[in-house]
Symmetry: C2
Subunit: 528 residues, 2 copies
């Protein structure tokens, strides 16, 4: 019986938006995460590993009353009618765990977690639907000391991973200050939620739209290049000015510090009694002045509102706590320019930026930018228990940080290929396996060629593909003479690439040695 | 407007069949996997990390023409109509990768992989729907040297993980020998597939049913305790005898070696020219004799069939190769009792068993059993490319091996709690954070108490829950005097548990030391 439709072969393809990681891509990430988690461990954080699958109900973004709740997540219906989904971050599972085990976990609970998360989004260049996150959170502490600790730990973790001091800065802001801005701008009321949303989105677009674009969105609205009109928040000139004073805070303070007279002292005005710093050493003066000047600027902007004042006070406390541990504004500083994710957070927010420049895909220089961010969120556990639980934490963008380390030529793990023992005589496979056994016992990465040994050229091509430093060769003559030949493939590649053999003549790329000296001779050649 | 149905709070629960891993559960597994992968690395294996999600088409067990192909896997339909699924093992993704990148990967390709896999099965005690696997495979080598290498590597990996020599044995069998058994039993033909299936399942049930039960299934059939009848393969007495000779091979050889006369030499009969071993040393005699005697027994059983003879020859070669590297039958031995997964494999199969006894859930002693298994499979890549690619590999049951290490009291990672700096005076938080900063800088795991500091008892309870070795205390008096108090919580617990204080009187559980000596004094106390 003939089939009219012969079965098509399955496609050997990763699903759209997913990718595979090979060799050094895996080991380098692991080496980086090992260094980061060693810091987390030293800070008293414990590891937590939840499964990749959660109930949609626990993830919380989606409701089981729609037919297919997979907007943004990968979801499916379990046989018993529960909707399940792949976790989209590590914070939602933490909230579930904090509620589920609330009677057993220490409080406060410091935990770190790392692993893949999944997003059901349109993939793009460099955007994948599975990627790594590495988080650290403290659940159950309302103290800003917990926020300060996360910032200090993030600073230590970045340096442990290989980002040098001076190549990064952690910027700290406070959601409460922004709430104060909304209040002084007269859009704090319950009836102004729409306006606040427009203002938030406008602030968030500053980098792209510039001051003019943001001002247009704060006012009547903005027509973009394509002619599309986006409705604005309808603020008056005076209201918009308040918001812009916040948006531009960092730049205003920067120019004041550069051009203006030195400040007479470094007390925060308004009698708060916060001693942010006392610049005794000239070298630290500018840095310490920064935090003071920013808080001063914010105080003038929103210090008259309760919520704004509280936010500024918290920022001052954070700066004080960090100073007590030696983290100056060169590493961690108050900076109102951090706005990302503000809608999600309830208090201090922080973001780690890498300050060195790289070339983008078009060859233009640009700052590397953000590699980690987080802040205080007090309502995630409440969903489950009805009780508000204060929490704060950070998430490191693992792939971005790894890309940064590669851009700086750091973070490269040991990716040396193995010594390859070639097979000249198929019947003496046991001898060749004995050789690799000896090499491995001495801690040397080694393998025997396991393909078809007929074509010796293929064996050397294989060794080349494996980035092997040395090929070991023993044919019948050598076996009879009790010797082996070592071929220095690194030197061989250099000779092949060089115009003249002259410079290499003192160092032969191939040596014949007694079989008994195999391990010692390989060790010598690897050490060269 | 009142809601008739107030929104129910979401349940804080892991989905059915999933679990969370805390603290030492995570670090101990990681420590074990780090040791295993270091061995894999030394053998020249490269890491590969594929994503958790594959197309159902690539996974291959399921067809997109049924409405919901989630039998055994978690699957869902992507927006563009592709069915996606969570991987159920690490071999199917490897086959996809080997086909997808066949022009770029070295050949043979040695890779290791580890990570979670998912099974959509009914969860049970100790059975979870997400669990870890750790695999190593060689793709592109048809040589039995590749199988021997995997067995040697598995032996090294088990010892590196902490399983002592003598506590495990790796048993090697060959699918081809079983095919020979089918042939001599007269059920090798295409028309006998049903019979072969019944025979395979019967062999697989030997441990549960015993010889009588298996014989019944080979014959007419078997009625179980509940009265249900299972139809047998309908073999004649003579046919069944051939199969039972295979099923009982290990036991027959064992009794022959124990009771029978010593063998005159250790050449395999039949003129194959395989020198399995030559027992020169008396201490190794019994072990070496084992492999010889098993092959001899199999030779008498199936040596007359081409396929059986080939299988025995391969087993002899594997034994020779391993002997050349010093792996005797005390670590790796030929053993026909390994049948699991035989349906899946095409050549040598192997399984690592732990030989020490543990107590089962009912308090009865039993052998720990299998922790890893694998074998040769030559057709997985063919699905994609149409070309057969020989491959062999092993999968370690990560959770089982970890349970074994715990049962032996090994493999316990550093799970010491942090030094806890308590908070006596909320206003001096910066001082307390300075203390933990100093301790951490000295490499000591330390944290400051971040909960509400009002109730000091709660702080000590917290330190207890954290398994903290030392609490650091500095109230106003100590601060004024420039001292801190160290409370030895381990000693304190011992004193509390002991009947008399007499034995502890020379070692105070609490000392007051100068603030400047904090790090040195903590180091001394931790070293005690």
């Amino acid at each position: 019986m003939a089939n009219d439709k012969p079965a098509r072969r399955p496609r050997a393809e990763t699903p759209k938006g997913f990718r595979d990681y090979f060799g050094a891509e895996v080991t380098e990430r692991k080496a980086m995460l090992d260094k980061i988690t060693a810091v987390y461990h030293r800070y008293g954080f414990d590891p937590l590993e939840t499964s990749g699958v959660e109930t949609v109900e626990a993830l919380g973004k989606f409701l089981p009353d729609v037919d297919r709740p997979n907007e943004g997540v990968f979801a499916w219906q379990d046989e018993d009618a529960d909707w399940l989904a792949l976790r989209y971050d590590l914070t939602a599972p933490l909230a579930r765990v904090a509620a589920q085990y609330r009677n057993d976990l220490p409080s406060p609970y410091r935990r770190y977690a790392m692993g893949p998360v999944w997003r059901n989004e349109k993939p793009g260049p460099g955007r994948f639907r599975q990627f790594y996150q590495c988080d650290a959170d403290t659940v159950g502490s309302g103290s800003v000391a917990a926020d300060a600790e996360i910032c200090a730990m993030l600073s230590d973790a970045l340096e442990a991973a290989g980002i040098e001091r001076g190549d990064y800065v952690i910027k700290v802001n406070n959601r409460k200050v922004l709430n104060g801005v909304m209040e002084v701008a007269g859009i704090a009321g319950d009836d102004k939620e729409a306006e606040r949303g427009i203002v938030l989105r406008a602030i968030d677009k500053f980098d792209r739209l510039g001051e003019g674009g943001v001002r247009a969105l704060l006012g009547e609205g903005r027509k973009d290049d394509s002619g599309d009109f986006t409705k604005g928040a309808g603020l008056s000139e005076a209201q918009a000015e308040k918001v812009m004073g916040f948006v531009n805070a960092s730049r205003i303070v920067e120019s004041e510090l550069r051009d203006g007279p030195p400040r007479p002292d470094d007390r925060i005005p308004g009698g708060m009694g916060l001693t942010v710093s006392n610049p005794t050493e000239q070298s630290e003066h500018a840095g310490r002045l920064w935090n003071w000047a920013v808080l001063d600027h914010l105080m003038r902007l929103v210090g008259t509102t309760d919520i704004g004042f509280e936010g500024i006070k918290e920022l001052g406390e954070i700066a004080d706590l960090l100073k007590g541990q030696g983290y100056g504004p060169d590493r961690i500083r108050i900076d109102p320019s951090v706005v990302r994710g503000l809608g999600y957070y309830t208090g201090p927010v922080y973001e780690a930026e890498l300050t060195f420049e790289i070339l983008d895909e078009k060859g233009r220089k640009r700052q590397f930018g953000s590699v980690a961010g987080g802040g205080r969120y007090d309502d995630l556990v409440k969903r489950f228990t009805g009780q508000s639980v204060p929490a704060t934490g950070v998430s490191i963008g693992v792939d971005r940080l790894l890309a940064a380390l590669r851009a700086k030529g750091r973070g490269v793990a040991d990716s040396a290929g193995p010594v390859v023992v070639t097979v000249m005589d198929r019947d003496r496979m046991a001898d060749y396996m004995g050789m690799v056994g000896e090499l491995r016992a001495a801690g040397i990465r080694a393998e025997v060629y396991l393909g078809n040994p007929k074509n010796f050229g293929n064996q050397l091509k294989y060794a080349d593909k494996r980035q092997s430093p040395i090929a070991v060769i023993q044919g019948g003559n050598e076996a009879a003479a009790g010797t082996v030949i070592l071929k220095d493939l690194i030197l061989g590649a250099k000779i092949a690439a060089s115009a003249t053999l002259e410079e290499w003549k003192d160092r032969p790329a191939q040596v014949e040695i007694p079989r008994a000296d195999l391990v010692a001779a390989v060790q010598r050649m690897l050490a060269q």
